[in-house]
Each structure stands twice: as structure tokens, then as C-alpha cells.
């Protein structure tokens, strides 16, 4: 019988340090919520976190919690709770998993961090619709539940060129959040503090970009699956020193791998770009699947989404508005395709895997012919797999496996 081989996938040594700073982050939030010592804001993952930190808030990110529900495979049991109160199975499964978990009174944080029983209660909820409309509906539900203000930024979507009019509009909306934030926190807005936080956030972003771009080396010292785990600090701790210190550590480890020609996937033969959300409940399975076929999924649009190169401490509001509008997810297909082509070139990619996530149209870019257009223009083959970020009812593991194996066989034929 043909034996299945288990490939060696190299572990990142810095992981322990990341777990420590993430634990510190969750405990600080938990303590503040318990003692009412600091105001707490809930924020969308590419929302104006810098402004919130600068105004003295500790920040919880419900999408991070949604991803944790997915990665721990709790989500599929939580989603039906939200379905039952009118949030259908085809809308964002971060939203349904998170609200479902709240309704059931459970959180993966309890399993990971002793002493944490629940999420930190918010004093305000702040969204940016740059990702999708679902975040607004999600936060509205919690606004009613906790009887706290829900404020946000309405970003223009499907943007081809990020022009001045759009940036000015978003910058003004960010400024307009300040009076409510002052009232809720009891703190006056301090421009110098915003500049300080934004500078830290920019430094974190630059380091995170350097980390991800080490994957441009052959063989790559990093995988996309590593990236989905190690992006935690870039999402929840951007604007803080611990995130910066962590990415310096991680970068040094990856640079050492490059120097010693150490591959994240032993025997890397095929270099794959992942377009779309990860399937959180299958990170390990997918990592093994690709590695077993000598393929390294080494780069993604998704992990790159927390690179904010436009942040400029000398022009905080304007540069935040530009950075949060430049995001891939906000853009037109023209702009997205131009971006992906640059990435395919930089990372020396052999094939693209598109994840068509049932409940996330905004991160499923293969639905309007993009895969076919890019394949025609670049000659790089692509594969679309059907699945979901969180709802494991929406995927077939066997179909994914066969599709991926067949795709790698196709790449093998091309390489000869």
C-alpha cells in the first residue's frame, strides 16, 4: 500500500514569547474589566485601534475572538445559537460564532487562560466598515446587549485609486469619534499621545512586513500557517512596545534560517500563494496536507492585511485614513489584481489557492472571475477550494484533499 509521508515542518522558537505577550494582553483586559480600572473598547481588527489606545482604552478585538473560536473548533457548536435568533448560516461566521458563544456563556479564553471566565465588558464599540457591513451589525447587537455607544467609520468600498476626497472623508470620520470617546473614557484627546502610539504602530507594521517578506527567499523560512498564528500581536497589540519587541525577535529567527538555508517545509518544491481567509479549524490539517506534497503555502493577502505602511506620526488622522483605505479588502478588483501580481512575482509563486469562504464574500475574491483573469495574465495555475473560515459544516475535507493533491500533480507536470 502506498505510504503517506509526514513531512517535517519546522517549529518557530519565538512562539513561547508570543504566547506570553498574548497572555499578558488578555489578562490585562480581564483585570481592567473586573476592577473597572481602565475603559475598554471593542474594535474591529482594522479599525482605529491607535486612536483608542491613545485615549487610554484597552482594546478587545471580536474578530480575534472569532478566529480563536474557529481555531479551537468551538465555532461550529456556537454558530447555531446565533442562527436561532435570526443571524443566518450564510452571514459572517465570526459574527455568528462570537454571538453564539456569548449566548452560551463560553469563550476559548477560559481554556487558554486560567481565571478568565468571560470577555471584557465594553464601554464603547468602535467599527470601521472597511472590511464589510457585518462588523456594524455585529457591534450593534452588542451595543444593545451592553447598552453602550456604538460608533464607527463608514469607509468607501470597491475603491480603485485611494484619492484625496475619500481620505479626507475618512479622516474627518475618525476625528468625529473623539467627543464620544472622551465622554466614555473621561480622558481628553492628546495629539502627542496619538502620534506616539501611531509611531509604535507603524514600527510594528514595518517589522511585521519584514517578517512576512522573508518568505520571498528560496526556500522560505516561513509558512502562511505560521503567519496566521504569529499575526496575533500585529492585530491586537499594534501601537504597543511588546508587539515591536516580539517581531524583532521573530525576524531575527527567520533571518537566521535564511542565512543557514533552513526551510520551513523540508524539501520545498512548490511555492503557493493563499488568497482568502484561512480555514481556522483546519490550520494544522492544511499545513500537513501541503507539506506532505512538498508544497509550502508561504504567502497570503490575508496576513499582509495588517501592514499599514501609510501610517505617519506627523499627519496622524490623514495617514490613518489613507492606511485603512489602502487595504486590499477595500479595493476594486483592478487594484486587487495588480497587488496580487506584485506578490506572485515577489514570492516566486508556482500556484495560487483561492479559498472561497461560504460566509465571507468580502474575503472570497474568486467570485467575480479574478482567478481566471489572473491565470490568463500570469500563466500561474490556480485552484479554488470551497470552505469557510469558521463553520466546518460548510466544507468537505475529502474534496479539499483531492483538489489540493490534484493541483500539486498539475504543478508537478508543469515542472516536469
Amino acid at each position: 500500500m502506498a505510504e503517506e509521508k509526514e513531512k517535517k515542518r519546522l517549529k518557530i522558537k519565538a512562539t513561547g514569547q508570543m504566547q506570553k505577550i498574548m497572555a499578558d494582553y488578555f489578562y490585562e483586559l480581564n483585570d481592567a474589566a473586573r476592577d473597572r480600572s481602565k475603559p475598554i473598547a471593542w474594535c474591529t481588527s482594522v479599525g482605529p485601534a491607535e486612536l483608542l489606545r491613545a485615549m487610554g482604552f484597552l482594546v478587545h478585538f471580536p474578530e480575534n475572538h472569532g478566529a480563536m473560536l474557529g481555531a479551537t473548533r468551538m465555532a461550529t457548536d456556537m454558530i447555531p445559537e446565533a442562527n436561532a435568533i435570526g443571524y443566518t448560516p450564510t452571514i459572517c461566521s465570526y459574527l455568528t460564532a462570537d454571538i453564539g458563544a456569548y449566548l452560551k456563556g463560553v469563550t476559548p479564553l477560559s481554556k487558554a487562560y486560567k481565571g478568565i471566565d468571560s470577555l471584557p465588558k465594553p464601554d464603547v464599540l468602535v467599527f470601521n466598515t472597511n472590511q464589510c457591513r457585518d462588523v456594524q451589525d455585529w457591534f450593534a447587537w452588542y451595543g444593545d446587549e451592553f447598552n453602550v455607544p456604538v460608533i464607527g467609520i463608514y469607509t468607501h468600498r470597491g475603491v480603485k485609486d485611494v484619492g484625496e476626497a475619500l481620505v479626507t472623508s475618512v479622516a474627518q470620520q475618525i476625528k468625529d469619534l473623539i467627543p464620544t470617546l472622551e465622554e466614555v473614557s473621561g480622558n481628553k484627546f492628546d495629539m502627542e499621545e496619538l502620534k506616539r502610539v501611531l509611531a509604535l504602530s507603524r514600527e510594528c507594521s514595518d517589522l511585521w512586513q519584514k517578517v512576512l517578506f522573508t518568505a520571498g527567499t528560496i526556500p522560505s523560512p516561513l509558512t502562511f500557517f505560521d503567519g496566521t498564528i504569529h499575526m496575533g500581536p500585529a492585530v491586537v497589540l499594534r501601537g504597543t512596545q511588546p508587539a515591536i519587541d516580539y517581531y524583532k525577535l521573530l525576524l531575527a529567527e527567520l533571518e537566521e534560517r535564511i542565512e543557514n538555508h533552513v526551510a520551513a517545509v523540508d524539501g520545498e518544491k512548490y511555492r503557493i500563494y493563499w488568497e482568502g481567509m484561512p480555514v481556522w479549524g483546519r490550520l494544522s490539517a492544511h499545513s500537513k496536507l501541503f507539506a506532505g506534497l512538498d508544497a509550502n503555502v508561504l504567502a497570503s493577502t490575508y496576513c499582509n492585511s495588517w501592514i499599514f505602511s501609510d501610517f505617519d506620526e506627523n499627519d496622524p488622522f490623514h495617514s490613518m485614513a489613507r492606511a485603512y483605505t489602502q487595504l486590499f479588502i477595500v479595493r476594486s478588483d483592478d487594484a486587487k489584481e495588480a497587488y496580487i501580481k506584485r506578490m506572485l512575482d515577489y514570492f516566486k509563486v508556482d500556484g495560487i489557492v483561492y479559498h472561497d469562504a461560504m460566509t465571507c464574500p468580502n474575503n472570497s475574491n474568486c467570485r467575480y472571475g479574478m482567478a481566471q483573469r489572473l491565470e490568463k495574465e500570469t500563466g500561474i495555475p490556480s485552484l479554488i477550494i470551497n470552505g469557510d473560515l469558521n463553520d466546518l459544516r460548510m466544507l468537505s475535507d475529502e474534496q479539499t484533499k483531492t483538489n489540493v493533491e490534484a493541483f500539486i500533480e498539475q504543478l508537478e507536470e508543469r515542472k516536469g
Binding site: A2, Q399, A406
Partner: protein
């Protein structure tokens, strides 16, 4: 290698296990088809015995075996595995060495595979996770209509006035079938509508190139599906002599390459 040396391809599908034995001249000298059941290993062993007997050879004459299909990892006597996508492509190109689009309609899934004139795969698509457009869909509908699934081909070809079904979903299609029965529609017309539904689901998966080949068990048992597809696309479709075996033949051809 001797004159009696053979290469074996085992295609363990969700519904049927197919086994092909090729001689050194790439001729099909033995084959067998059995219901896969729940013990893929035992079924593939039985298929091997039958196909080798037909070929007039013994296990000692096997040079290599490649297995494919859902149960490809359960075949005891295989030395390598390949996906059914690669094997169908290889098998079809063996019979039709042209730039082709292959439509494979299987028990559990469908595939549309495009090859260039050198037999290199350009791309492929598999159906989404649901049963729409597959053999499983027809089996489910045969139950609703209380007819043997093997009668469907003849019934569809007798239809005078096809009844169209609108839904993607097998369960919803079942409801539509019940509604048509209630309204007194004729069974042959409903069955032809079901065939049309299968074809539409497959045609939605990808565009077709000039030369089209159809394969798979559903095609083997329901040749009228090919006729209907030809009418729909307005040109002749190529079908191998044993359309259910092309995946197994492809696997045997890979075995001939030693992988």
C-alpha cells in the same frame, strides 16, 4: 519484463471500484467493476483477482500498480497513488490524443478537466460539496420516483415533453419531483428533466473547448445523457469504449511509467 507483464490501475470510487489491466502495448487485457461497499481493501482485492483472470495472468506478472479514487489509499497491492483527476486525464488522452475537455460524471462528484494537445492539464474543476449533478442525485431521485436507477436511461429517451427542474439542491429537487408527480406529469418526462438538471450542473462548472470527452459510471450507464449533451452544445462528444474505466486505465498508464 516478459510478454505477459502487465500494469494495473485500481480506481476505488465512492460508488464502484474499477480495475484495469494493461499489457506492455497499452492494450486493455483485463478489467472488472464491483460495488465499492464499505471495505475498499477487500473489494479492490476481489477486482484484482477477476481482472487478472480475464487477462490470463497471475499477480506475479504485475510490474506496477497505481491506485486512484476516494479509496486510493486503501489498495493493498498498489505501489503509488494518483488523484482521479490526473488519472481520468491520462486515460482520456490515451484514447483521444487531442486538446480536450473531459466531463467526468461520477457517483459522488463531477469533474471538468481541460488538456492541451500534448495532454498537459491546463486546469480542472470539481463540483462543490453537494450531490447536485452527480450519480448520487440520480439515485436519490430514482427512489423518489420509485423506479430502478438502471431504468432511467430508457425512460428519459422515451420522453416526449421534458419537465424542467429549477433547483440546485437535491432535497429541493426531490420536492419538485413530488410536485410534478402530484400534478400528473409523466415519469419519462420527469426523468429527462432530471438528466437535463445533471447536465446543467456540470456545464455551470466551466466552459468547454472544441473537443469534448465524457466519462464516468453515470455516462456508462446512461448514454442518453451524452445524446442530450450533444444536442445542447451542438456537436459530437467523444466517449471511450469503456467510459467507466478511463480513470483505472489512466492509473495503469501511470503504473507503466513506474509511478
Amino acid at each position: 519484463m516478459t510478454d505477459q507483464s502487465v500494469f494495473v490501475g485500481a480506481d476505488v470510487g465512492s460508488s464502484r471500484t474499477k480495475l484495469a489491466v494493461l499489457n506492455t502495448k497499452k492494450q486493455l487485457v483485463g478489467f472488472s467493476i464491483k460495488k465499492s461497499g464499505t471495505d475498499f481493501t477487500a473489494t479492490s482485492n476481489t477486482c484484482l483477482d477477476l481482472a487478472l483472470k480475464m487477462a490470463g495472468v497471475t499477480p506475479g506478472h504485475i510490474v506496477h500498480t497505481v491506485s486512484t479514487g476516494y479509496g486510493r489509499k486503501n489498495v493493498e497491492f498498489s505501489s503509488a497513488t494518483k488523484t482521479e483527476i490526473s488519472c481520468h486525464a491520462r486515460g482520456c488522452y490515451h484514447y483521444f490524443p487531442l486538446a480536450i475537455t473531459i466531463i467526468d460524471i461520477g457517483g459522488q462528484d463531477n469533474k471538468v478537466i481541460k488538456l492541451d494537445d500534448q495532454g498537459r492539464r491546463l486546469n480542472f474543476k470539481m463540483n462543490r460539496k453537494c450531490a447536485a449533478g452527480t450519480g448520487a442525485f440520480l439515485e436519490e431521485m430514482a427512489l423518489r420516483l420509485d423506479i430502478p436507477v438502471e431504468d432511467m436511461n430508457d425512460l428519459a429517451s422515451q420522453s416526449q415533453n421534458m419537465e424542467r427542474l429549477g433547483s440546485f439542491c437535491t432535497v429541493f429537487s426531490g420536492t419538485e419531483v413530488l410536485e410534478k408527480i402530484r400534478n400528473g406529469k409523466k415519469v419519462p418526462d420527469i426523468v429527462k428533466g432530471l438528466f437535463f438538471s445533471v447536465i446543467r450542473r456540470v456545464m455551470e462548472m466551466d466552459s468547454l473547448t472544441e473537443n469534448v470527452v465524457m466519462t464516468g459510471g453515470v455516462v456508462a450507464h446512461n448514454p442518453y445523457l451524452v445524446t442530450m449533451t450533444e444536442e445542447l452544445i451542438g456537436r459530437k462528444i467523444r466517449v471511450a469504449e469503456h467510459p467507466q474505466l478511463t480513470g483505472a486505465v489512466g492509473a495503469a498508464l501511470y503504473a507503466m511509467n513506474g509511478k
